[in-house]
Symmetry: C2
Subunit: 150 residues, 2 copies
DNA sequence: GTAGATTGTTAGCCTTAGCTAACTTTTCCT
DNA sequence: AGGAAAAGTTAGCTAAGGCTAACAATCTAC
């Protein structure tokens, strides 16, 4: 990266050739992990609130059907984020717990920031849900700083 | 954080039943249209910069392979956002143009906002790419206001 | 004007994420 | 304890978004 900045913008060049592609690559990567993050964060929340995370509750909160959850949980287990036994509720692995915490932190910062900025709570919640997966650590720091210094 | 502490912990309620589900629903909807928006925005850009939008350039900028672009363009055409003839470059429909403009506007606002907040240009570009699809009109207005009043 | 390079498409594969229908297991209630 | 309800799983469908390999069309340069 940084390489192609001064690559002769002569005329009808491919302009910034992979500069941009890189950004999209990053966004696509983020998109892939979003769902996993949503699940892990929600599972942590359910465990905290109700003592356990049952697929039926996950489905209800996410607004999807049970089989969708089963499949997603299989994937999370494969990826080492959760452990589970058939017909039982779900637990986070060490790594899952770590990820959940990180997500929760990001979510909280974005939410607090949006509210500080003047957004109503409900819209802030909805937007935070979407935004939290796409803010870099650097941006997050600025958000936190803004919210704190208000 | 702080939120679920005093939220009517009556007993074993389904707690906030679809309140949350709604947010996820919105996010999933946004996720579905993201790719289409990326394409349309990019196509408009290419047409503006180079006079035409060729699949090969789209692929390069997005960092994907040619057949991926062909398929995506088929979908966009089906959805009425672009028109195309085989082996020719791509044009936006009226609706496509409208969408592209809206995306461009959102992108610009988010980008300007992030930079005003103190983010470096490169990170701002990357983050804006991800964030722009998830900000409500209301948040956008606040972003714009902040950037303007600086 | 034709040969080779470039560009575009098709076919076919994989994975993810959603769904319904049908089945199994667990839980709950009498 | 036994049967109905609830929860979970499996099978099998759809569609999107990636890919490679192979083929077709277009463009370019001689």
């Amino acid at each position: 990266m940084t390489a192609d900045i001064h690559v002769a913008e002569t005329t009808s060049d491919p302009v910034h050739p992979d500069n941009r592609a890189e950004a999209f690559h990053g966004v696509r990567a983020a998109r892939r992990s979003e769902l996993a993050e949503d699940y892990v964060e929600l599972i942590a929340e359910l465990i905290h609130e109700q003592g356990e995370a049952r697929p039926v509750d996950i489905a209800a909160r996410l607004g999807v059907r049970a089989p969708t959850v089963t499949k997603a949980l299989d994937r999370l287990a494969r990826e080492g984020l959760i452990t589970r036994e058939r017909y039982r509720s779900v637990f986070l692995t060490e790594e899952g717990r770590r990820l959940a915490l990180e997500c929760r932190r990001r979510h909280a910062i974005v939410l607090r920031f949006l509210i500080r900025l003047g957004l109503d709570a409900e819209t802030a919640e909805r937007d935070a849900e979407g935004i939290e997966h796409h803010v870099s650590e650097r941006t997050l720091a600025l958000f936190a700083a803004y919210a704190d210094r208000a």
